[in-house]
Symmetry: C2
Subunit: 189 residues, 2 copies
C-alpha cells in the first residue's frame, strides 16, 4: 500500500499549471486550471494574484529540478568539455521519452510573446543561467572565444528544444556529435 | 501622390492575421482580427470557415515570400556550400531589423502546441521544404552524411529563430561561422 500524500490547494494549482501549460501551452484558461487542480476560482485568487503569477511561480519552483536534471554538479571530476557534452546527452535521452515536449521555458517565452510577462522573466533567468554555465565551462576548457561558444551552445540547446517540441526531429544521434564539432572547432578541452 | 490599392476584405483579413499573429502570437481573438481588418465577423465567417482556417491560409500564402527571401534561386552559379551559407546570412541580416520577431512558422507550431492544427500543418510543410533544400545541397556538395547535415542545419535555423524571438540573442556574428564549422566538419564543398 502506498501512503497518499495530500497536496495543498496551492501545490495542486502549481502542479496543474505545470502539466497543462506543458501539454497545451500558455493559453490555458483559469477555468481549466482550477478544474484540474480541484480548487475553486475564489481559492485560486486568494493564493495567487493572477494566472500570470501562478504560471511564473510554477516555472520558478520547477527551475531547480530543471537545473538538477540537466547540469552536472560542481567539481564532479569531469573535464569542462565532458560537462558540456553531458547536458546535451541528457537532453537527447529525455527527448526519447513519450512525455517529452521540448523545453518548458522556451515554449513559455515563444507562447507568451511578451518578454515582460512574469513567466517570461523566469524563463529568461533560467536560460541565462544555462548560458552562464556554458560560458564558465568554455573559459575553463580554454575555448578560443568563450562568449561565442556559449552563445552557440545555447542556440543548439534551444534549437534542439524547438525541433523536438514541433515533432520535427527526435534528436537521436544529432546533438552530441554536433556539439562535439563545435567544441573541437573552439579548441575546447 | 501614391495610388492607394484598395484591398478586399479577404486580403485585409489575411494581412491582419499575419501581422497580429506575428506580433502577439496565435492566441489572437476573432474580435481583434476583424477590428484590425475593418471587416465584420459575419463577413469573416463567410470568407473563412474559422479563425484556424484563416491562420492556415495566411501562412500558406506567405510561404512563397518566405522561400523567395531565404532560399537562393536554382542554378545561381554558387556552390552548394555558398547556397547553404546564404540562407543563414539572410536570416542574420533580417534579425538585425527592429520588426524581426523570429520565425513565423516556428512560433505558430510552438504557440499552437497542436501539430494537427491546419496552421501547424502548413508550418510543417514549409520547414520540411527547408530541410529538403539543405538535404539536396548537402548531397550535391559531397557532405559525408547529407541526412545528418540537413538535420543539423535545420536545428541551427530553428535555434536561431528561437533565440532571436525570445530576445536572447541578436545573432550577429553567430550563425554564419557556426554553419561554416558544421559544413567543414561534414566535408561539404
Amino acid at each position: 500500500m502506498t501512503t497518499e500524500v495530500k497536496l495543498s490547494p496551492r501545490e495542486r494549482l502549481l502542479e496543474a499549471a505545470a502539466t497543462l501549460a506543458y501539454q497545451d501551452g500558455v493559453g490555458i484558461g483559469v477555468e481549466a486550471l482550477c478544474k484540474a487542480a480541484g480548487v475553486s476560482k475564489r481559492s485560486m485568487y486568494q493564493l495567487f494574484e493572477s494566472k500570470d503569477e501562478l504560471l511564473a511561480v510554477c516555472l520558478k519552483e520547477r527551475s531547480s529540478a530543471f537545473v538538477a536534471t540537466l547540469l552536472p554538479v560542481a567539481d564532479d571530476g569531469r573535464s569542462p568539455r565532458e560537462r558540456v557534452l553531458r547536458v546535451f546527452e541528457r537532453m537527447e535521452s529525455q527527448a526519447g521519452t513519450p512525455e517529452f515536449r521540448g523545453c518548458r521555458y522556451l515554449a513559455v517565452q515563444i507562447g507568451l510573446k511578451d518578454q515582460g510577462h512574469p513567466a517570461s522573466r523566469v524563463a529568461q533567468q533560467v536560460k541565462a543561467g544555462l548560458t552562464a554555465f556554458f560560458r564558465t565551462e568554455a573559459e575553463r576548457g580554454g575555448a578560443s572565444d568563450p562568449d561565442v561558444l556559449a552563445r552557440q551552445l545555447s542556440l543548439v540547446f534551444d534549437g534542439a528544444g524547438a525541433r523536438a517540441e514541433t515533432g520535427a526531429d527526435k534528436l537521436t544521434g544529432l546533438i552530441a556529435p554536433m556539439v562535439t564539432t563545435l567544441l573541437d572547432a573552439a579548441g575546447m578541452r
